[in-house]
């Protein structure tokens, strides 16, 4: 599939989602469908799907201990081991995973290879790492902030996060306090999208499955920001709906505004799409055998559950074939 087709197909898919919600609520008045049924269904698909995926991976055996070693291994006592990048204990592997999952350590290694004349150079290239961190942490903080809609009274943690997130006290054109994460998320997603479009090799490897989630998340971010900063929606009503959903007594309050329904439908789509997509890397990364295993197979034997005996060319067969040669060469044999 060509680059243009992949990109536009993904864009239009998201555009269609927006229109579906718009008409579904404005024209067909399917508020209950978009406000209650679809969110419930999407969340159920997300939970069941993610658990299914996790169990499917976890059920697969790990036949070999194959960590990618990224530093000096445990060796002679006076040689300093790199305990994080080449762990020899389960604890070390745990620490390595913490670095990987929370700080994206492998991505931090990224370099950019350049060829000038016949000379290769490897420049530091941290933008992907920065954007990835900004994207994932903004997303997390925004999720935490959304908890205020589901919990009454609003927990201290949520309030603290909100305070920190609006640390700079910026009011955009008289709008409510600007959240840093809103800007960071939109900027990071835009960067991640643009690099796929601009860098030729990335454009070449990108699939609709790469553009679609980016457009989807971008749209979620934009609709969210629009609601907060520009088009006032009925927040009290939204909280009523959210509390209803969480207490399994859903009801649709009046006057929430279609923008909210579009936002919610996009979020629902993201949740439902999640388990079937590359986004499952969120779970998969924890199971990656090149990262989560200690590099100690010479000291502690790793067991392969499906190990089976194999046919080996035995010494006896070898000697039977070459006995005379061996004897002539003065090499000891078992049978004279």
């Amino acid at each position: 599939m060509s680059f243009g087709l992949s990109l536009w197909l993904s864009f239009f898919a998201v555009a269609v989602l927006v229109l579906v919600a718009l008409f579904g609520v404005e024209a067909a008045h399917l508020n209950y469908l978009f406000g209650v049924i679809i969110p419930y269904a999407a969340f159920a698909i997300f939970i069941v799907g993610i658990i299914y995926r996790f169990l499917k991976w976890a059920a697969r055996p790990v036949p070999f201990r194959i960590p990618t070693t990224a530093g000096q291994g445990k060796s002679l006592p006076w040689i300093k081991q790199n305990k994080i990048d080449n762990p020899s204990t389960a604890l070390g592997a745990f620490v390595r995973m913490i670095f990987e999952v929370l700080l994206f350590r492998s991505l931090f290694r990224n370099t950019r290879t350049e060829l000038r004349g016949p000379i290769l150079s490897y420049a530091s290239a941290k933008w992907l790492w920065i954007a990835a961190l900004a994207f994932h942490y903004s997303f997390l903080i925004i999720l935490i902030r959304h908890l205020r809609l589901f919990i009454e009274p609003v927990p201290f943690l949520v309030k603290t996060v909100e305070k920190l997130d609006s640390f700079f006290q910026i009011h955009l054109l008289g709008a409510p306090l600007l959240y840093i994460t809103n800007v960071a998320l939109l900027a990071a997603v835009t960067y991640l999208l643009l690099r796929r479009v601009v860098i030729p090799t990335l454009r070449y490897i990108s699939l609709p499955a790469d553009y679609f989630p980016l457009f989807l998340i971008l749209s979620i971010g934009i609709t969210g920001a629009l609601m907060r900063y520009f088009y006032k929606v009925n927040v009290v009503g939204i909280k009523e709906l959210a509390m209803g959903l969480i207490n399994f007594s859903p009801k649709i309050p009046e006057g929430i505004g279609v923008l909210f329904y579009i936002h919610l439908f996009l979020v629902s789509t993201l949740f439902a799409y999640f388990p079937f997509s590359k986004l499952t890397h969120m779970v998969g990364v924890f199971l990656s055998p090149t990262r989560n295993l200690a590099n100690n197979n010479r000291a502690v034997r790793h067991v392969n559950p499906w190990n089976y005996p194999v046919k080996v060319h035995t010494y006896e067969e070898y000697e039977d074939e070459f006995r005379e040669f061996m004897k002539d060469a003065g090499i000891p044999v078992e049978k004279e």
């Binding site: 445990k74 060796s75 290879t113 290769l120 890397h281």
Partner: protein, 534 residues
Amino acid sequence: MAVQKPEELSKIDYKPPKTSWMDTPAELRKDMFCWGNKEKSLKTVGFPNARAWSVADEDWKLPENWKEIFLEGLKERLSKYRSFQLFMDICVRCGACADKCHFFIGGGDPKNMPVLRAELLRSIYRNYFTTSGKMLGKVAGARELTYNVLKELWYYAYQCTECRRCSLFCPYGIDTAEVTILVRELLNLLGLNIEWIAGPVANCWRTGNHMGLLPHTLRDTVDSFQADLETITGVKVDYSFNRKGAEILFVNPSGEFFDPVGNITFMGYMLLFHEIGLDVTLSTYVSEGGNFGFFTSNEMAKRLHSKVYAEAKRLKVKWIIGGECGHMWRVWHQYHNTWYGPVDFLKEPVSPITGTKFENAKSNKIVHICEFTADLIKHGKIKLDPSRNDNYKVTLHDSCNVSRGMGMLEEPRDIIKSVCNNFYEMPPNTIRENTFCCGSGSGLNASENMELRMRGGLPRANAVNYVRDKFGVNTLANICQIDRAALQALMNYWAPDVVVRGVHELVGNALVLKGEKERTTDLRGEPLPGKEAK
């Protein structure tokens, strides 16, 4: 060598074609692939669908149900390897791996970007094993397995040296080596191997080594080393084959018996073992530590490597020392113990000279020669005269497998710094865990694919050039027999005047033997510093 000149080859276009990769059929280009396997090679080890075939032919004489075989094999492996299933599912195509592959850097073929190399298979996986792929086809990144797609898989599976550099940079640790290993397994179900791998595998099965050296040839070879060493040092070193009751079995890559550069490394071991009076034996039955079976299938790797422990058991040795080799050490470090263990018939390795316990090898009982030698040097058990290596300005090429599949980085450096006075590191992005492949690993060190090799070796050679121009480096040390066989050709092409030497060649030069005569030449017979003919 039919390869164009370096100035031409280093003009690389990284711009991908206009058509998308699925719509760009692979062109199987001569000089980039190795010859297909001979029928005999696969038959010797009882592989399925053994037949003669030629890569250049339109018809690869596949079995009728080839597609079924491939897909069944894929399904089976997805269920047996968590790594494989995971790596098929979670790639986000972030592209961090793209410019980390030596073949992409040196060739610019987008299908050599690790991400795309894996997508070649992922697209098939999606088509047959995922709901979205079955329903949406191309939109979901899925494609059918056709004859041409199979050829493409073959072509690119043999343009990956399983060096794992990409896996270092992957945020999820996706390891292309793992994917390539399993794709090669699948291709082997269809009798599609390369002779440069299948031949050595068959040799190793029957004769105990890749080179096909028979017992008496091995004896003659090592005898000639013995004679050379006596000429050079005045000392007659002992050695033995298949000696029962020796304390240690020594296993090395058989290329060291055959390749001139490897020969000298082996002579270095001989001098060392003699000097410290090590109770060690060689074996003709296990005259190979390398394992081209590993480049074929995990089962074949196990079939070949099981001989090592079987022989250790038969000879009743206490433990094993392994020579300088790259993939052999990935196999020993990450696989062998799992295949064969528990290794309870051997003793936990303890150096008889220093008393050091090799705790890191207490379960599999195999110690790397560099660990062993570094320990000797640390304890001052051998006398060294590094000035004998003063003609050499040395840099070290870290072997991929030893760096990223084991993590032995300091030991060879410790040794080199003790036996040489002039050691210079290549730039940090090209050594240690970041090391670049020689371009010929995983069984691709044939001659018919020389362009591929020179392209793949470009990043390594470039880094050597850097220290050659900056510090006058003239010696590329390494601890891998494929390196020794492959890097010299690479240096001759990209970095003339740089000579490739095993670390234990340098040890052998510097080692002061008890009762040796005044040495005038190094182990290659070249004059030592200050001993040049006037």
